[in-house]
Symmetry: C2
Subunit: 350 residues, 2 copies
């Protein structure tokens, strides 16, 4: 349904091309289906329950989110299967976690005995069972235990009366991490574990998933909108980028310099090699610097220059942090706004 | 009034040390008073009307904010003198600007004839007068006209029946920009202008204000909380940093690596030379990388290491973008929460 023309929106504003987004949703689902892997979109990219329901209707088995507060928003919105691939620590947070666990099929992860003990205590307090995956460390060196410790953690989960061992968690599940996955699975099998799920993730992991057959499930977030980072990584084309931040030229202080009305509070400070985003109408331009509310652009390589008052559209470097800066974003087809979404889980960091 | 112990707050959470903040407010006001300059705090750092009123009670003559939507929030909260040092472009935005102009003493800036024409049309539509400063370009090369064009813009404002010439705007008003300011003032005086206000700004501009006597008013934001950027610039001491982001250690994957429960969605991706913030309890630690919801820390230089579940406090690299990520922040004294502030202008980018 057409709600209004895009031109009626004030800038800066985040637009989502609905056809591109729906194509991205369908394509990733087909990719996972073809590989025989379950697909679990990570909602960190959009934080919008309505969009999660589109992903579920397309065939996703559930969602992943990173924080309990995000899970609360999506459980309230009727999502029935939620994974939080995160060490949940702290008694109050664990109590809230158990609240989510009561209303949906919840799975969390752990990479440390202290985390498992906290989960067990919470499950005891709430007289409930809780599904726990073991977080396997990878080459990005974030969280995660090495294979031998992963088996110890799995034993600790199995030894608990309250916890269920729910498989292995890996991020990212790229080919570079396959030896770790294989080592952990071998040790788990030798220790008598049935590993029902190996949940992998990352847009790179999804692209390489055919070569990591051990992975049974994929968590991907950015694919739904794409951005300059996925573009630079060769994981999408410009025509697959659904997010465009609509901005106005507010200053033309000299021949080559163009200033737009959005900065790091609009498109976040993330930077790719060549700048802070791609200006669709002027691909040769470079957003070389961001103030909080200004984008500083170098147009010296462009044949044409915009004037004060002109509108441009920017594909940001990292979509996930952009959505998180805005109270609402707009679904568009051509020149029309067809959806207005509240970013319901924006700012949910706890 | 003690509302609750700090330990009752879930992490990650943004704390403001009330005594440090009040000391910062008083010190900057004293600094401006001693120099005989008006002080106009920029609210971009806190975005909280209650705090703006503390700044006004301490002696500030009004506030500055960067966007019309921010001005709306502060005008609604009773702030009577608001400056928007920004080119306001676009008919709908200009109509909202005139709404703010109706309820307070508003001043905007312009660096282009097209911007002035838009302001004039809006003032005509609303049958109102509007105060306009001329934005003078500086060595940071953001917006702003060179001195000779500044005089042309001032003439255009003077020639309008609706607009009042309100002086010269400079950012930052550091010593390096003094020759530009002097050149513009000389040309303006020669053209018969009375320049009632030279509004300078920036925390560096404030520090150097004694050496730029032409500046009559200072706009500063970050001074109220301070951060690693102002610390690195030698503009404050650690004991002047009022903002601490309280976080929990959620993973200790190896001997030197510590993972905290906040990333670029909690403390923003800004980076100083040495990392993404200063961990107060472990000043030798380095936050070398941020995921969206994890801080990756290298503790190899530290004698002691925290355990999973331990609490640490991080002074962020750039406070202004941190506040903008949170729905509320907490004013604390020692171990007690005494204020809960809604970040009323969070996300106000339009």
């Amino acid at each position: 349904m057409i709600l209004m023309p895009v031109s009626a929106l004030e800038t800066p504003v985040v637009l989502i091309d609905l056809d591109i987004m729906l194509r991205n949703i369908a394509r990733m689902q087909r990719h996972c289906d073809a590989l025989g892997k379950a697909f679990r979109p990570h909602i960190k990219t959009h934080k919008i329950p309505e969009i999660a329901h589109m992903q579920l209707e397309a065939g996703a088995i559930g969602i992943a989110c990173q924080k309990v507060s995000e899970a609360e928003v999506f459980a309230d919105a009727g999502v029935e299967d939620i994974q939080i691939p995160y060490n949940i620590v702290g008694e109050r947070k664990l109590d809230r976690l158990m609240g989510v666990n009561r209303v949906c099929r919840l799975t969390v992860s752990a990479d440390d005995p202290v985390v498992i003990d906290g989960l067990e205590s919470a499950a005891q307090r709430h007289k409930a069972r809780l599904r726990v995956m073991v977080d396997l460390g990878t080459d990005i060196q974030r969280t995660g235990a090495p294979p031998e410790r992963a088996v110890e953690l799995a034993r600790r989960i199995r030894g608990s009366e309250q916890l269920d061992f729910a498989g292995l968690l890996v991020y990212p599940s790229t080919v570079s991490n396959r030896p770790r996955i294989q080592a952990a699975l071998t040790m788990l099998h030798e220790a008598g574990f049935v590993v029902e799920s190996v949940s992998g993730g990352g847009i790179g992991g999804a692209a390489q998933a055919a070569d990591v057959p051990e992975v049974t499930e994929l968590r991907v977030g950015t694919y739904i909108f794409n951005d300059v980072s996925t573009l630079n990584a060769g994981l999408c084309r410009i025509e697959d980028c659904a997010m465009r931040v609509r901005m106005t030229v507010v200053s033309r202080p000299d021949a080559d310099r163009v200033i737009l009305d959005g900065g790091s509070k609009t498109i976040a400070a993330d930077r790719a090699n060549d700048g802070h985003g791609l200006i669709v109408e002027y691909p040769e331009a470079r957003i070389y610097k961001l103030s909080e509310e200004h984008a500083h652009c170098d147009f010296s390589a462009c044949a044409a220059r915009p004037s004060v008052g002109d509108i441009v559209h920017v594909i940001p470097v990292h979509t996930c942090v952009v959505t998180n800066l805005h109270d609402r974003i707009y679904g568009v087809r051509g020149d029309n706004v067809e959806e207005i979404w509240e970013v319901a889980a924006r700012g949910m960091v706890c």
